[in-house]
Symmetry: C2
Subunit: 224 residues, 2 copies
Protein backbone atom coordinates (compact mmCIF):
# COMPACT_ATOMS: atom_id res chain seq x y z
CA UNK A 1 0.00 0.00 0.00
CA UNK A 2 2.71 2.43 1.02
CA UNK A 3 4.76 1.61 -2.06
CA UNK A 4 1.70 2.06 -4.26
CA UNK A 5 0.86 5.40 -2.65
CA UNK A 6 4.43 6.64 -2.98
CA UNK A 7 4.40 5.71 -6.61
CA UNK A 8 1.15 7.62 -7.18
CA UNK A 9 2.51 10.66 -5.31
CA UNK A 10 5.71 10.68 -7.27
CA UNK A 11 3.75 10.42 -10.52
CA UNK A 12 1.61 13.39 -9.45
CA UNK A 13 4.67 15.43 -8.52
CA UNK A 14 6.36 14.88 -11.86
CA UNK A 15 3.16 15.64 -13.80
CA UNK A 16 2.79 19.34 -14.56
CA UNK A 17 -0.30 21.18 -15.76
CA UNK A 18 0.95 23.12 -18.76
CA UNK A 19 -0.94 25.89 -20.50
CA UNK A 20 0.02 26.56 -24.13
CA UNK A 21 -1.18 29.56 -26.11
CA UNK A 22 -1.12 28.90 -29.84
CA UNK A 23 -1.99 30.31 -33.25
CA UNK A 24 -2.85 33.85 -34.30
CA UNK A 25 -5.69 36.02 -33.08
CA UNK A 26 -7.88 38.34 -35.14
CA UNK A 27 -8.79 41.97 -34.50
CA UNK A 28 -11.78 42.96 -36.60
CA UNK A 29 -12.22 46.40 -38.22
CA UNK A 30 -15.81 45.61 -39.26
CA UNK A 31 -17.84 42.38 -39.67
CA UNK A 32 -15.57 41.19 -42.53
CA UNK A 33 -12.04 42.65 -42.36
CA UNK A 34 -9.45 41.98 -39.67
CA UNK A 35 -5.80 42.33 -38.76
CA UNK A 36 -3.88 39.10 -38.12
CA UNK A 37 -0.67 37.20 -38.93
CA UNK A 38 0.16 33.84 -40.54
CA UNK A 39 0.78 31.86 -37.32
CA UNK A 40 -0.38 28.30 -38.09
CA UNK A 41 -0.54 26.81 -34.58
CA UNK A 42 1.97 24.12 -35.63
CA UNK A 43 4.52 25.05 -32.95
CA UNK A 44 1.74 25.02 -30.32
CA UNK A 45 0.60 21.59 -31.55
CA UNK A 46 4.21 20.28 -31.50
CA UNK A 47 4.75 21.64 -27.96
CA UNK A 48 1.49 20.01 -26.79
CA UNK A 49 2.54 16.67 -28.30
CA UNK A 50 5.99 16.89 -26.64
CA UNK A 51 4.49 17.84 -23.25
CA UNK A 52 1.91 15.02 -23.39
CA UNK A 53 4.69 12.54 -24.29
CA UNK A 54 6.42 13.57 -21.03
CA UNK A 55 3.23 12.78 -19.09
CA UNK A 56 2.03 16.35 -18.56
CA UNK A 57 -1.54 17.63 -18.65
CA UNK A 58 -1.99 20.17 -21.43
CA UNK A 59 -4.54 22.92 -22.08
CA UNK A 60 -4.25 24.83 -25.36
CA UNK A 61 -5.76 28.30 -25.81
CA UNK A 62 -5.80 28.69 -29.60
CA UNK A 63 -6.83 31.30 -32.11
CA UNK A 64 -8.37 30.22 -35.47
CA UNK A 65 -6.09 27.64 -37.13
CA UNK A 66 -6.35 24.69 -39.53
CA UNK A 67 -3.84 22.56 -37.58
CA UNK A 68 -5.01 19.46 -35.63
CA UNK A 69 -4.08 19.50 -31.94
CA UNK A 70 -3.43 16.26 -30.03
CA UNK A 71 -6.75 14.90 -28.75
CA UNK A 72 -5.26 14.33 -25.27
CA UNK A 73 -5.02 18.12 -24.82
CA UNK A 74 -7.93 20.30 -23.66
CA UNK A 75 -8.62 22.84 -26.40
CA UNK A 76 -10.05 26.31 -25.73
CA UNK A 77 -10.74 28.11 -29.05
CA UNK A 78 -10.67 31.91 -29.11
CA UNK A 79 -10.80 34.64 -31.79
CA UNK A 80 -9.38 37.92 -30.45
CA UNK A 81 -6.44 38.79 -28.22
CA UNK A 82 -8.88 39.89 -25.50
CA UNK A 83 -10.52 36.42 -25.66
CA UNK A 84 -7.10 34.76 -25.50
CA UNK A 85 -6.10 36.87 -22.50
CA UNK A 86 -9.32 36.11 -20.59
CA UNK A 87 -9.12 32.35 -21.26
CA UNK A 88 -5.38 32.31 -20.42
CA UNK A 89 -5.87 34.12 -17.11
CA UNK A 90 -8.64 31.70 -16.16
CA UNK A 91 -6.64 28.56 -16.99
CA UNK A 92 -3.29 29.88 -15.69
CA UNK A 93 -4.80 30.03 -12.18
CA UNK A 94 -4.64 26.21 -11.98
CA UNK A 95 -1.53 25.66 -14.16
CA UNK A 96 2.08 25.08 -13.18
CA UNK A 97 3.38 27.03 -16.12
CA UNK A 98 2.58 28.54 -19.51
CA UNK A 99 4.30 28.45 -22.89
CA UNK A 100 3.31 31.43 -25.01
CA UNK A 101 3.60 30.02 -28.53
CA UNK A 102 0.69 32.09 -29.85
CA UNK A 103 1.20 35.15 -32.01
CA UNK A 104 -1.66 37.30 -30.68
CA UNK A 105 -2.53 40.23 -32.91
CA UNK A 106 -0.96 43.09 -30.95
CA UNK A 107 -2.83 46.03 -32.49
CA UNK A 108 -6.57 46.55 -32.70
CA UNK A 109 -8.65 49.24 -34.39
CA UNK A 110 -9.71 51.82 -31.82
CA UNK A 111 -13.16 51.71 -33.38
CA UNK A 112 -14.89 48.58 -34.72
CA UNK A 113 -17.65 49.27 -37.26
CA UNK A 114 -20.98 47.40 -37.00
CA UNK A 115 -21.42 47.42 -40.79
CA UNK A 116 -18.94 46.57 -43.51
CA UNK A 117 -16.97 49.75 -44.33
CA UNK A 118 -18.07 50.78 -47.85
CA UNK A 119 -15.38 51.68 -50.36
CA UNK A 120 -15.57 55.30 -51.40
CA UNK A 121 -12.46 55.63 -53.58
CA UNK A 122 -10.86 57.66 -50.78
CA UNK A 123 -8.09 56.51 -48.46
CA UNK A 124 -9.01 55.38 -44.97
CA UNK A 125 -7.23 56.42 -41.79
CA UNK A 126 -7.26 53.60 -39.26
CA UNK A 127 -6.36 54.34 -35.64
CA UNK A 128 -4.78 51.30 -34.02
CA UNK A 129 -4.06 50.79 -30.33
CA UNK A 130 -2.04 48.04 -28.67
CA UNK A 131 -3.90 45.01 -27.40
CA UNK A 132 -3.11 43.72 -23.89
CA UNK A 133 -0.01 41.49 -23.77
CA UNK A 134 -1.10 37.96 -22.83
CA UNK A 135 2.27 36.63 -21.64
CA UNK A 136 3.28 39.88 -19.88
CA UNK A 137 -0.04 39.74 -17.99
CA UNK A 138 0.58 36.15 -16.90
CA UNK A 139 4.21 37.05 -16.02
CA UNK A 140 2.87 39.85 -13.83
CA UNK A 141 0.46 37.63 -11.87
CA UNK A 142 2.48 34.40 -11.61
CA UNK A 143 3.19 32.93 -8.20
CA UNK A 144 6.80 32.03 -7.26
CA UNK A 145 5.97 28.38 -8.07
CA UNK A 146 4.67 29.13 -11.58
CA UNK A 147 6.86 29.53 -14.65
CA UNK A 148 6.39 31.44 -17.90
CA UNK A 149 8.10 30.71 -21.22
CA UNK A 150 7.64 33.35 -23.90
CA UNK A 151 8.40 33.50 -27.61
CA UNK A 152 9.98 36.43 -29.42
CA UNK A 153 9.75 36.84 -33.16
CA UNK A 154 12.26 39.46 -34.24
CA UNK A 155 13.49 40.68 -37.61
CA UNK A 156 16.47 42.75 -36.40
CA UNK A 157 18.57 43.21 -33.20
CA UNK A 158 16.97 39.88 -32.40
CA UNK A 159 18.81 38.73 -29.27
CA UNK A 160 18.79 42.15 -27.60
CA UNK A 161 15.06 42.57 -28.27
CA UNK A 162 14.36 39.05 -27.03
CA UNK A 163 16.12 39.67 -23.70
CA UNK A 164 14.26 42.98 -23.32
CA UNK A 165 10.98 41.13 -23.87
CA UNK A 166 11.94 38.43 -21.37
CA UNK A 167 12.52 41.09 -18.70
CA UNK A 168 9.42 43.12 -19.55
CA UNK A 169 7.17 40.06 -19.62
CA UNK A 170 8.84 38.48 -16.54
CA UNK A 171 9.52 35.23 -18.37
CA UNK A 172 11.76 32.45 -17.06
CA UNK A 173 12.86 31.60 -20.59
CA UNK A 174 12.30 33.22 -23.95
CA UNK A 175 12.41 31.35 -27.24
CA UNK A 176 13.79 33.52 -30.03
CA UNK A 177 12.89 32.85 -33.64
CA UNK A 178 12.67 34.74 -36.92
CA UNK A 179 9.76 35.52 -39.24
CA UNK A 180 10.72 32.49 -41.39
CA UNK A 181 9.26 30.34 -38.57
CA UNK A 182 5.70 31.54 -39.23
CA UNK A 183 3.57 28.97 -41.05
CA UNK A 184 6.70 26.90 -41.80
CA UNK A 185 7.39 23.20 -41.30
CA UNK A 186 10.89 23.68 -39.87
CA UNK A 187 12.36 26.38 -37.69
CA UNK A 188 15.51 27.49 -35.86
CA UNK A 189 15.39 28.86 -32.32
CA UNK A 190 17.53 29.96 -29.39
CA UNK A 191 16.33 29.46 -25.81
CA UNK A 192 17.53 32.27 -23.55
CA UNK A 193 17.24 32.51 -19.76
CA UNK A 194 17.01 35.54 -17.45
CA UNK A 195 20.78 36.08 -17.46
CA UNK A 196 20.83 36.23 -21.26
CA UNK A 197 22.55 32.84 -21.45
CA UNK A 198 21.73 30.79 -24.53
CA UNK A 199 20.53 27.51 -22.95
CA UNK A 200 20.09 25.79 -26.28
CA UNK A 201 20.10 26.40 -30.02
CA UNK A 202 17.82 24.05 -31.93
CA UNK A 203 17.26 23.75 -35.66
CA UNK A 204 14.96 21.24 -37.30
CA UNK A 205 11.33 20.24 -37.59
CA UNK A 206 8.87 21.93 -35.24
CA UNK A 207 8.53 18.52 -33.51
CA UNK A 208 12.29 18.42 -32.82
CA UNK A 209 12.38 22.05 -31.68
CA UNK A 210 9.34 21.47 -29.42
CA UNK A 211 11.01 18.42 -27.83
CA UNK A 212 14.14 20.52 -27.19
CA UNK A 213 12.11 23.32 -25.58
CA UNK A 214 10.23 20.82 -23.39
CA UNK A 215 13.53 19.16 -22.38
CA UNK A 216 14.80 22.53 -21.08
CA UNK A 217 11.51 23.23 -19.29
CA UNK A 218 11.53 19.70 -17.83
CA UNK A 219 15.07 19.87 -16.45
CA UNK A 220 15.23 23.51 -15.35
CA UNK A 221 11.66 24.56 -14.46
CA UNK A 222 9.63 21.43 -13.65
CA UNK A 223 12.46 19.23 -12.36
CA UNK A 224 13.82 21.84 -9.92
Amino acid sequence: MLAANTSILSQDESMARILITSGPTRQYLDPVRYLTNASSGRMGAALATAAIALGHEVTIISGPVAVTYPSAATLVPVISTEDMLAASQEHFATADGVIGAAAPCDYRPRRVEDHKIAKTGESLSLQLEETPDVIATLGGIKSPQQWVVGFALETDDARFKAITKLEKKRCDFIVLNGPAAIDAEATSVEILDKTGTVLAEITGSKAKVAEGILAEIQSRLIGE
Copy 2:
Protein backbone atom coordinates in the same frame (compact mmCIF):
# COMPACT_ATOMS: atom_id res chain seq x y z
CA MET B 1 -15.21 10.59 -90.18
CA LEU B 2 -17.66 13.44 -90.61
CA ALA B 3 -19.78 12.26 -87.72
CA ALA B 4 -16.75 11.93 -85.48
CA ASN B 5 -15.53 15.44 -86.35
CA THR B 6 -18.94 16.93 -85.73
CA SER B 7 -19.04 15.25 -82.38
CA ILE B 8 -15.62 16.61 -81.42
CA LEU B 9 -16.58 20.11 -82.56
CA SER B 10 -19.79 20.07 -80.60
CA GLN B 11 -17.93 18.90 -77.49
CA ASP B 12 -15.44 21.76 -77.89
CA GLU B 13 -18.25 24.26 -78.29
CA SER B 14 -20.01 23.18 -75.13
CA MET B 15 -16.75 23.15 -73.16
CA ALA B 16 -15.95 26.52 -71.62
CA ARG B 17 -12.68 27.71 -70.11
CA ILE B 18 -13.75 29.10 -66.75
CA LEU B 19 -11.58 31.21 -64.49
CA ILE B 20 -12.50 31.19 -60.79
CA THR B 21 -11.00 33.57 -58.23
CA SER B 22 -11.18 32.14 -54.71
CA GLY B 23 -10.23 32.69 -51.07
CA PRO B 24 -8.97 35.81 -49.33
CA THR B 25 -5.88 37.85 -50.10
CA ARG B 26 -3.48 39.44 -47.62
CA GLN B 27 -2.16 42.99 -47.48
CA TYR B 28 0.92 43.17 -45.26
CA LEU B 29 1.72 46.13 -42.95
CA ASP B 30 5.18 44.72 -42.15
CA PRO B 31 6.84 41.28 -42.45
CA VAL B 32 4.41 39.79 -39.88
CA ARG B 33 1.08 41.61 -39.70
CA TYR B 34 -1.55 41.82 -42.42
CA LEU B 35 -5.13 42.76 -43.21
CA THR B 36 -7.38 39.98 -44.49
CA ASN B 37 -10.79 38.31 -44.07
CA ALA B 38 -12.00 34.82 -43.20
CA SER B 39 -12.83 33.64 -46.74
CA SER B 40 -12.09 29.89 -46.77
CA GLY B 41 -12.06 29.17 -50.50
CA ARG B 42 -14.86 26.62 -50.02
CA MET B 43 -17.23 28.39 -52.43
CA GLY B 44 -14.46 28.58 -55.03
CA ALA B 45 -13.75 24.87 -54.56
CA ALA B 46 -17.46 24.02 -54.86
CA LEU B 47 -17.81 26.15 -58.02
CA ALA B 48 -14.75 24.45 -59.53
CA THR B 49 -16.20 21.02 -58.76
CA ALA B 50 -19.57 21.96 -60.29
CA ALA B 51 -17.93 23.43 -63.42
CA ILE B 52 -15.70 20.38 -63.92
CA ALA B 53 -18.75 18.09 -63.54
CA LEU B 54 -20.32 19.97 -66.48
CA GLY B 55 -17.20 19.25 -68.58
CA HIS B 56 -15.60 22.70 -68.37
CA GLU B 57 -11.91 23.51 -68.04
CA VAL B 58 -11.21 25.35 -64.79
CA THR B 59 -8.37 27.59 -63.61
CA ILE B 60 -8.48 28.78 -59.98
CA ILE B 61 -6.59 31.88 -58.83
CA SER B 62 -6.56 31.45 -55.05
CA GLY B 63 -5.28 33.35 -52.04
CA PRO B 64 -3.91 31.40 -49.02
CA VAL B 65 -6.49 28.81 -47.90
CA ALA B 66 -6.58 25.41 -46.17
CA VAL B 67 -9.29 24.04 -48.52
CA THR B 68 -8.47 21.32 -51.08
CA TYR B 69 -9.34 22.24 -54.66
CA PRO B 70 -10.32 19.58 -57.23
CA SER B 71 -7.18 18.15 -58.80
CA ALA B 72 -8.68 18.50 -62.29
CA ALA B 73 -8.47 22.29 -61.94
CA THR B 74 -5.32 24.32 -62.65
CA LEU B 75 -4.38 26.14 -59.44
CA VAL B 76 -2.55 29.48 -59.40
CA PRO B 77 -1.71 30.46 -55.79
CA VAL B 78 -1.36 34.16 -54.90
CA ILE B 79 -0.94 36.22 -51.71
CA SER B 80 -1.96 39.84 -52.32
CA THR B 81 -4.76 41.49 -54.27
CA GLU B 82 -2.17 42.86 -56.74
CA ASP B 83 -0.94 39.27 -57.32
CA MET B 84 -4.52 38.07 -57.80
CA LEU B 85 -5.25 40.86 -60.28
CA ALA B 86 -2.10 40.16 -62.32
CA ALA B 87 -2.76 36.41 -62.47
CA SER B 88 -6.44 36.95 -63.27
CA GLN B 89 -5.71 39.36 -66.12
CA GLU B 90 -3.23 36.90 -67.59
CA HIS B 91 -5.57 33.90 -67.42
CA PHE B 92 -8.74 35.83 -68.38
CA ALA B 93 -7.17 36.54 -71.78
CA THR B 94 -7.77 32.90 -72.78
CA ALA B 95 -10.94 32.26 -70.73
CA ASP B 96 -14.58 32.30 -71.78
CA GLY B 97 -15.69 33.73 -68.47
CA VAL B 98 -14.76 34.39 -64.86
CA ILE B 99 -16.53 33.77 -61.56
CA GLY B 100 -15.23 36.10 -58.86
CA ALA B 101 -15.72 34.04 -55.70
CA ALA B 102 -12.62 35.44 -54.00
CA ALA B 103 -12.81 38.02 -51.25
CA PRO B 104 -9.71 40.05 -52.14
CA CYS B 105 -8.55 42.33 -49.34
CA ASP B 106 -9.77 45.69 -50.64
CA TYR B 107 -7.59 48.01 -48.53
CA ARG B 108 -3.81 48.04 -48.26
CA PRO B 109 -1.46 50.07 -46.06
CA ARG B 110 -0.09 53.00 -48.05
CA ARG B 111 3.32 52.20 -46.58
CA VAL B 112 4.65 48.67 -45.96
CA GLU B 113 7.45 48.50 -43.36
CA ASP B 114 10.56 46.36 -44.05
CA HIS B 115 10.95 45.54 -40.34
CA LYS B 116 8.36 44.41 -37.83
CA ILE B 117 6.73 47.52 -36.34
CA ALA B 118 7.90 47.68 -32.70
CA LYS B 119 5.29 48.32 -30.04
CA THR B 120 5.88 51.63 -28.26
CA GLY B 121 2.81 51.84 -26.03
CA GLU B 122 1.47 54.56 -28.32
CA SER B 123 -1.37 54.23 -30.79
CA LEU B 124 -0.55 53.78 -34.44
CA SER B 125 -2.16 55.64 -37.31
CA LEU B 126 -2.44 53.44 -40.37
CA GLN B 127 -3.19 55.03 -43.74
CA LEU B 128 -5.08 52.60 -45.96
CA GLU B 129 -5.81 52.96 -49.65
CA GLU B 130 -8.09 50.87 -51.83
CA THR B 131 -6.58 47.96 -53.72
CA PRO B 132 -7.45 47.55 -57.41
CA ASP B 133 -10.78 45.77 -57.97
CA VAL B 134 -10.09 42.42 -59.67
CA ILE B 135 -13.58 41.75 -61.08
CA ALA B 136 -14.18 45.39 -62.10
CA THR B 137 -10.89 45.29 -63.99
CA LEU B 138 -11.89 42.10 -65.83
CA GLY B 139 -15.38 43.56 -66.45
CA GLY B 140 -13.71 46.59 -68.03
CA ILE B 141 -11.55 44.57 -70.43
CA LYS B 142 -13.91 41.72 -71.34
CA SER B 143 -14.74 41.09 -74.98
CA PRO B 144 -18.41 40.84 -76.06
CA GLN B 145 -18.00 37.03 -76.03
CA GLN B 146 -16.69 36.85 -72.47
CA TRP B 147 -18.84 36.85 -69.35
CA VAL B 148 -18.21 37.97 -65.79
CA VAL B 149 -20.03 36.75 -62.67
CA GLY B 150 -19.31 38.69 -59.49
CA PHE B 151 -20.11 38.13 -55.82
CA ALA B 152 -21.36 40.78 -53.41
CA LEU B 153 -21.12 40.37 -49.67
CA GLU B 154 -23.35 42.96 -48.04
CA THR B 155 -24.48 43.58 -44.48
CA ASP B 156 -27.18 46.17 -45.19
CA ASP B 157 -29.18 47.53 -48.20
CA ALA B 158 -27.95 44.29 -49.71
CA ARG B 159 -29.87 44.01 -52.99
CA PHE B 160 -29.45 47.69 -53.89
CA LYS B 161 -25.71 47.56 -53.20
CA ALA B 162 -25.37 44.32 -55.16
CA ILE B 163 -27.01 45.83 -58.27
CA THR B 164 -24.80 48.92 -57.96
CA LYS B 165 -21.75 46.63 -57.84
CA LEU B 166 -22.97 44.63 -60.84
CA GLU B 167 -23.22 47.84 -62.89
CA LYS B 168 -19.94 49.30 -61.68
CA LYS B 169 -18.04 46.06 -62.29
CA ARG B 170 -19.83 45.37 -65.61
CA CYS B 171 -20.89 41.90 -64.49
CA ASP B 172 -23.40 39.74 -66.33
CA PHE B 173 -24.65 38.28 -63.03
CA ILE B 174 -23.96 39.08 -59.42
CA VAL B 175 -24.32 36.57 -56.60
CA LEU B 176 -25.49 38.24 -53.40
CA ASN B 177 -24.71 36.73 -50.02
CA GLY B 178 -24.33 37.86 -46.41
CA PRO B 179 -21.36 37.78 -44.00
CA ALA B 180 -22.69 34.49 -42.53
CA ALA B 181 -21.43 32.85 -45.75
CA ILE B 182 -17.78 33.48 -44.88
CA ASP B 183 -15.97 30.36 -43.68
CA ALA B 184 -19.34 28.55 -43.35
CA GLU B 185 -20.42 25.13 -44.62
CA ALA B 186 -23.82 26.31 -45.87
CA THR B 187 -24.96 29.55 -47.43
CA SER B 188 -27.92 31.36 -48.95
CA VAL B 189 -27.62 33.43 -52.12
CA GLU B 190 -29.60 35.36 -54.72
CA ILE B 191 -28.43 35.50 -58.34
CA LEU B 192 -29.25 38.84 -59.95
CA ASP B 193 -28.90 39.82 -63.61
CA LYS B 194 -28.28 43.22 -65.23
CA THR B 195 -31.97 44.17 -65.08
CA GLY B 196 -32.06 43.54 -61.31
CA THR B 197 -34.15 40.40 -61.84
CA VAL B 198 -33.61 37.67 -59.26
CA LEU B 199 -32.78 34.70 -61.50
CA ALA B 200 -32.57 32.25 -58.60
CA GLU B 201 -32.56 32.05 -54.83
CA ILE B 202 -30.57 29.11 -53.49
CA THR B 203 -30.09 27.97 -49.90
CA GLY B 204 -28.09 24.95 -48.82
CA SER B 205 -24.61 23.51 -48.83
CA LYS B 206 -21.95 25.36 -50.79
CA ALA B 207 -22.00 22.37 -53.22
CA LYS B 208 -25.73 22.86 -53.86
CA VAL B 209 -25.38 26.63 -54.20
CA ALA B 210 -22.41 26.19 -56.57
CA GLU B 211 -24.40 23.77 -58.76
CA GLY B 212 -27.26 26.28 -58.88
CA ILE B 213 -24.91 29.12 -59.91
CA LEU B 214 -23.30 26.93 -62.60
CA ALA B 215 -26.75 25.90 -63.89
CA GLU B 216 -27.63 29.59 -64.43
CA ILE B 217 -24.25 30.29 -66.08
CA GLN B 218 -24.64 27.17 -68.25
CA SER B 219 -28.12 28.03 -69.53
CA ARG B 220 -27.85 31.80 -69.81
CA LEU B 221 -24.17 32.61 -70.51
CA ILE B 222 -22.52 29.51 -71.98
CA GLY B 223 -25.57 27.99 -73.68
CA GLU B 224 -26.58 31.20 -75.49
